[in-house]
Structures are given as structure tokens and as C-alpha cells.
Symmetry: C2
Subunit: 569 residues, 2 copies
Amino acid sequence: MNAYQPVTADMFTLLEQVLKGSQQVRALPPFAEIDADLMQQVLEEAGKFVAEVVAPLNRDGDEIGCRFEQGRVISPPGFRDAYQAFWQAGWPALAAAPEDGGQGLPSVLEVMLYEMLCGANHGWTMAPGLLHGAYECIKHHASEELKERFLAKVASGEWLATMCLTEPHAGSDLGLARTRATPLPDGRYALQGTKIFISGGEHDLSDNIVHLVLARLPDAPPGPRGLSLFLVPKFYDDGSRSAVHCERIEEKMGLHGSATCVMRFDDAASWIVGQPGKGLNAMFVMMNAARLHVAMQGIGLLDAAWQKADAYARERRQMRAPGRKAGAAEADLIIEHPAVQRMLDTQRAWVDGGRVLAYRTGIELDRIRHADASQAERAQRWCALVTPVLKAAWTHQAFHGGSECLQVFGGHGYVREWGIEQILRDARVAMIYEGTNEIQAIDLLVRKILPDGAASLNALLDDLAHELDHTGRERLERLRQCTHQVIAAAAQDVTVAYRVADDYLRAFTLVLLDWAWQRIDSTLEVNTPDMATRWQAPARALRTWVLPEGEMRCGIISSLVESSSPVHA
Amino acid sequence: MNAYQPVTADMFTLLEQVLKGSQQVRALPPFAEIDADLMQQVLEEAGKFVAEVVAPLNRDGDEIGCRFEQGRVISPPGFRDAYQAFWQAGWPALAAAPEDGGQGLPSVLEVMLYEMLCGANHGWTMAPGLLHGAYECIKHHASEELKERFLAKVASGEWLATMCLTEPHAGSDLGLARTRATPLPDGRYALQGTKIFISGGEHDLSDNIVHLVLARLPDAPPGPRGLSLFLVPKFYDDGSRSAVHCERIEEKMGLHGSATCVMRFDDAASWIVGQPGKGLNAMFVMMNAARLHVAMQGIGLLDAAWQKADAYARERRQMRAPGRKAGAAEADLIIEHPAVQRMLDTQRAWVDGGRVLAYRTGIELDRIRHADASQAERAQRWCALVTPVLKAAWTHQAFHGGSECLQVFGGHGYVREWGIEQILRDARVAMIYEGTNEIQAIDLLVRKILPDGAASLNALLDDLAHELDHTGRERLERLRQCTHQVIAAAAQDVTVAYRVADDYLRAFTLVLLDWAWQRIDSTLEVNTPDMATRWQAPARALRTWVLPEGEMRCGIISSLVESSSPVHA
């Protein structure tokens, strides 16, 4: 079994040649000193750490997994040491602000780091993956006293963090949450309730765990506006243990390297974070970043699956490839067979296209924070519209396209030995958490496109259109047309938007993917035959097999809109 | 967790109302006495056995699985008892010939039995699933002496059977197999070699196991024509054990209830089955039946996934469904949400459409054996063309559509408790074995359509066209047009057929599915509002979300053909 190898050279090519990454970030005041060399160096160091420390633990993470013993979670072999090395080397604080002890590097480098970490070891990466949202949340919403106690520890990653949102009856619908927060005489709150699906709710990776918990104050109204956010650590300053207990961990399809915990809060003394009733707002602050993080899981895992399948296809021989004459070997490499080429090239098109979109989104995240108002607004528009697409489409692809990679192995793909089936099992959850993919589609269409009559979408499409060829522009205009149909129909009957949302997200995905690859085609200097194969084969596969879905989705949307229009319309 | 429930009423409706099943089989001489009541009664008895005996073992089959101890395989709890009850009740011999101790019932009932068995417990069903091919193989190719020893025991299922084909270097390419057969003085052959991926190579379900093994005689030419077929039992008549050993069992993604064995043959004394060098022919005899069997795994598993998701969607409440006013409950059932309806209705369309096609194929299998020459030829044409489609498209759907059903559960789908993730893990292998889905596509286009210039396909399409509406006929003609394009291009360059094969199989699938549902629509008496919902919701989902893919695939095929045409063509 070959382990995942970070492909920092390709990643850097896309960042620097295709997206002009260093130039983009250098235009932002905090990054004036950053140049391409530094970014490349950080990437390469990250790649080295991932390959040497994190990737080798992936198999045991799956096979041994997290064990639960009397309230304690024992991580798979090597996980704690690797995590300790990770935070001590400063990786969690890569993009954190210098005033919080961070390195102050651009977010896009963090995005790229997480692509590699997830490709190498999705289970292990769940732990630090949750830090960044907690950091933002504490930084922007917590009181000075709380920041004093927790911010630096979370920024550095010395203490890990959780998000305690879901309850047995409140999954996609957090408004149903029932966990109660009762004021204590000392100004703190006693948390009482049970949360489920808490990744890293308990573990031995770090010396403390900081829980961010949604709960209701006694006088809170029902629904989402009654939720406030609270912070409770596993251990308080004085070393005493809080009344937060892990009741059990879930048996899951995959992701065994990460404990998914049922957490019980037995009047656990906690602090409020932000204003009463504003719990969801505090959480939404970090939503784009967290969704982008999940998208990177998709891209990383799909690349890991692709790498395995590609390597296998270059050493396994079966049958004569069509049109080939008998050669020295008794059969041809399976990479010579058209079906195998189709599967590999298509998935590679998704990986690289996803990278361009995700890295650009990473750059836009920095623009939101550091650019002038008009640029920040444009960046905000990009992130708002593209992030749900990245999350939904690339987690979908990691699983379904990962299955194509598994197929390259034939029967060997189904046995655990080759490690490809683990990728599918691990990847499946990413289609669900951080908002199911169906909720991403609703977020995109119902919350982000309908309310402003697609003004923001149209502005983004205008920007993209400049870079597209004739066919690409036609596809883009077809999406615009669908959008207007949906807006008109939804004015009569809002349910129509919900009915077309999933198809709509796919159609938009394909326009973005088309743009990403046209950007690659137009910016990349292809100097060698190897480079031509590297970039042209996936581009061809994209045009042949992937992009035609766009027209199909637009047709489905139009027919759904038409069939739902009232007769008098 | 709700276990799979056989839906014999729906199945019988499709068989009898939609396909006129009893009338069709009664026209064949051996089935002159069979009527609808008898068929329904057999189905219901089968459903009862499946629900009471087989379904309850599925979870342990996955969680405990088969264990390997010093050459022995210990089946999961209850598996042996269930199997003993199964064969003693006569189920394996349902469609076997009366002269072999069988019940002589139509094959379509066996097909329907296996849909239920696979839906209930894919792992357990692997064992009897392999019997039928072995029975046909021994019946048609073995010497009288061998039949005397083995035929009745295999027909009844008292002894289970294996197919030992694959070797470490010979998967899709059996011609690379190296296992040797050396003549012994007593007319038998000593088998020497290693076979992998042998389902049920060793177990404790039955008192003996009959292995059918592909191997090479000393003077055999290389490649597939050098392969002969041999039979070696686990125990000989005198009770002595043969030199066939299970070396280990594979750790797999799923299907833990079935041991996938590495089998070592240490000069095991065996008998030849059929003529030297004709081993693959003997195996190909049973290929259509075996592929149809795998298709039934797809349909059964997809139905099992659908049942779980549907039940969950009718008890889980999350959020207000779009357009709904606040009701008594704090949230609406998730089945009220359009995305959930889409996922459920679409998968149901695949299940029922697959049933119509598969049951018809079961009837055609009986026609091949028992109808007059012209009818048998037509039946042969149907089976040759439709079987690879059923195998590829419905195993694909069990996994990818099963994933949609998992999605209905949100995070609960990812934990083992609900049993839906097991379905995905089990189903994945069916896309690979019995010829990968890519090989099914090549079989369809390159082996079955190109050689006769699509004459046979066109005859089948002519039959279907009579039953299609205007849009359906347009889609069918579009497929015909693509077919001619491919034939013309393949005359210049055969590789083009391999490049379009997967898209071609999908395009053909959708024409067949369209026919199946138009048949349902035109034959089913819908008398009640419940029945209307039952059948109209999936029909609508089919037209909205499934059928549009046909035009997309045809477009891809045309563009591939055009881009590969030589300039002078």
C-alpha cells in the first residue's frame, strides 16, 4: 500500500502560476513582506511534516481506531505524539494573528495545509481542524477575561476545541436544541444536557479541551433565537475537572481515527460567549471557514484516492488494451485501457479544478479581512457563493469519484489491504457534517441568491465571463437564464427553489469548474510533453465527461420550474 | 434499526399485472400447470422465510462476520442453521429440473427469491447464490459419472459450491491464470496453484463444498484457450479430505458475512469437467444467470436502503418544510422536505424499473430453455443485451443511490446503529465481481452490438418502440443514431468503442428504464390515492431527474465519436 504523498509542486503551480497567489496576498497590508519563495517554502515544510509524521498513522487510525474505556478515549498509536509535534511546530497558528501568538501567514496556506493533512489522514486531522473556528469564535465574541484564559492556548493548538451543537433531536435543525444553561451566583452558567456527534469531545491528544456549547437560558424563546453560546473546558485553571463527560463514542462507517462522542453536561460550570440569544450568530462567523475546511477534506481525499489508483494502474497488467499489438509482457498496463483513463483523468480534473477554486477562496478570505471595503465586498460575495459549492460538490466527489478510483483496483479495491476503501468510508461523512450537502444547496440558492434577486451572483458571473471562451460563456448564460426562471417562479411559490436547489448547485459547480480549468489552460506554461500530459488529459476529460452535466442540470431546473408554475402565470 | 421486509405484494404486482408473468410462463410446456395463485403463494412463502430466518442474521453477519481459525472458517451466529433450513425446505432447487430433484418452477421465481435474500442479507446469500451456476455447469458439461456423484447434491443445495477463477495476477483477465492440472494415473488430475477472491471457499454452512476450478493442462497453450475446468470437492466419497486449503480470508470493506478465501491447491485430485481447453466455455454457459443474480443483489440492496430511509423520513422531524405553516409539532417530518422526496422517489424509480427489467429477463431465461426456436432466439437476444445493463446499472445504483438513502439519515446514516452504512459497504463489491461494470459495458457494445452491426439491438429496440410514447421513441431513436455513429467510427478505429462503452451502457439503461416505467404506467390499475402516490411519485421522479441523463450520454458519445474520427472520414 502506497501512502498519500503531498504534491506540493502541483499545488504551488496552481497557487502561483494560475492564481498569482503571492502577488494577490502581497497587495494586502499584513502580507506586504510575503513573497512566492516564502509561500513555497512553507508549503514544502508542511508537505514534509504531513508525509513524515501524519500520513504513516492513517492505517492504524482506521484499523485500531479510537477506543473508549470508562469515560476516556484512547487515541490510535502515534496520534498524540504527532499532534504534540504539530502544535509545537506552530502549524495550527500558521494563519492566526501575531498578536494572538500566530504566524500571521495568509489563510490560503492554511487551506493548502489542510488539503494535505486530510489527504494523508482524515481522522487525525479532525482534531486540529476544529481549532480554527473556535479561535475565530473566541477572538470575536468572547469577553476579555475569557480571551485571557483561552485564546492563546486555542490559537497555538496547545488545547484542542470542540463545537457542541447537535442533539439527538436537533441535527440540521439546531433550533430544536434543548440543552439548558442556568445562571450561577458567580456569573457563570450551569450547562445541563446531552450533545451528540461531538468530534473530539474527549481524547488524549492535548492536555485540555475547550468546548463551545449551544444552550438555552431559562427565559429563552423557542427556536434558533433562543440559543446562546457557552464555553466550558475539560479542566479549569485550578486543574479540577469540569462536569462534562463522554458517555460513549459512536461506531461509524469510517473516520475511526476521530472519536465521535456523546457528551453529557451535568451542570457543568461554563462562561457565556457573546450575547444571550446570539449563539448561532457567533457560530455562523466561522461557517465559511469551516465549510471550506470540509471542502479541503473532499479535495485531499479525492487526491489520495486518485494517487492510489494511478499508481496501481501503472503497475497492474490485465489484457491487451484495445488497438494494441502483442508486446513483450503478456498483458498491457491497465492505465492503457480507456475506461481506466476515463476514471483517472476525470477525477484529476475535479481535484485540480477544486484546488483552483479553493485556493482562490482562501485568498478571498484574507481579502475579506484585510482589503479595502469594495474589494472586501467582492471577496465576501465570492466566499458566500462559492463556499457552499466547494463543500457540497467536492465532498460528493470524494465519495463518488473516490469510488471510481476504487474501481480501478477491481477486486483488490474492495479489500482493506490497499487502503482505498478506507478513503470512501472516511469521505462519506463529509457529505453530511458542517451542513448536509442538501443544506448547502438551499444556502446557496434560497439564502444567497434569491434574496437580492441574484444581483450578487450576476456580479460574480460577470467577473467570470471575461475569462471564459465562447462555449463557457454560453454555459454561464444558460445558468443565468435558469436563475431568472427560478427567481420568477419562486416569487409565486417559494417551494420551487427548494425543489431545484440541488440541481442548481450542480449547474453552478460546473460553471465554476469550467472557469477554473480555463484559467489553468490560459495561464500555465506547458513546456514539456510530461507537463502536457499532466494538464491536458484532465482538461480533456473535463470537457468530455464532466461539463455536459451542466446543460442537463439546467434542463432539469427549467422543466421543474415550468411544471410548478401556476397556470395563470 | 428496522430490518428489510420483503415487499412481495409490490413484486407480484409488477410480475403479474405489468409483465403478465403467469400467462407468459404458462405458454412454456413445462409450466403449463402454473398459475398466478401458485406463483404468488411461492413468493409469499419465500418472503416469509427471508423475513423470519435470513434477515435477522444480517447485522451479526456484518459485525461478527466470518472468522478464520487454523484453516477453518467459522460462519457468523445462526448462518449454518439458516442455511440448513433453507436447503431442506427446497429453496435452492426451486427452479432446478425435476429429474435432478428440483421443483421445476420458473426461473423468474428464483430471480425474485434472490432479490429478497440479497436485500435481507447479502453476505449469507453469497453461499446459495453460487449454487445455480455450479448446477448448470455440472448438468451441461460434466460426465455421467461426475453427475452421479455431485449433481443432485448441488441441485438441492445440500452441498455448496464455489467458482475458483481469479488468481493474484489474473482478475478480469482469466487468460493469465497459471494453476496447473497434471494427469494422474487414475484418470483424475492433480491441481496445483493458488486462487484468490473465492467466495465461500471454506465454511461450515454445508457438510461438503464442491469447487469448480479453472486450470491449465501441461500441454495447454497460453491465454484463455488453454484453460480447462476441474471439479474437486472438500471431501471425497470416502470421507477423506482433499488437498484444497484455505490459507486466509480477506479483510474487506463489507460483506463480512461471506468469507472471501485465498485457496491453495496442493496437487488436489480432481476431475475434468467438459473438454480440455473448453474451461471458459463451460463457465460462460452460466454467465447470464450469474450476472442477473448480481443485478438482483443491486435491486435488493437498493430496496433495503430505500426502505430504511423511507421509514426514517416518516418519523424524523427537522425544520419547517418550505411553504408549510407552523403545525402542532415543532418541526415537520423530513419526508416533507423536497430534497428528501427527490432522493427517495428517485431511488424507488430505480428499484421498480429494475424489477420490471429483471423479472422480464427471468421469464426470458425460461423462454430460452423451453420456447420454440424463434421465441428462444428473441429471448436470447433480450438476455444477451439486457443482462450486462442490469448488472452494471443496478449495482452502480445500489451503491450510489444507496448513498442517497444514507443521506436521508444525516449524521445518523454514518453510524452503524441504523444499518444503512452496511448496505453501502456490502453493495460496493457488486460493481466489481462477475465482471466489473466497465467490462459489462464492453461486453454490451463491443461483443454484442458491434459484431452484427446492431442488428440484434435494433430488433430489440423495434420491440420496445411500440410501447413507448412520443418522447420515449425520440430518446430511443437518439440511441439508435449514436449506435450507428459508433459502428461507423469503430470500423476505422476499434478503440472508439471502448472509449464510449460506459456512456453507451448508461444511455441504453435509460431507454430500458423508460420502457419499464411506461409499461408500469400503461398496465397498472391505480384505484386508490395510496396506489397513486405509490406509483406516480417515482414515475415523476424518473422523468424529472433520471431520464434526462440519456440525452447527456448520447451527446457525450457523439462528441467522442466525432473527436476520434480520422480527418479523411
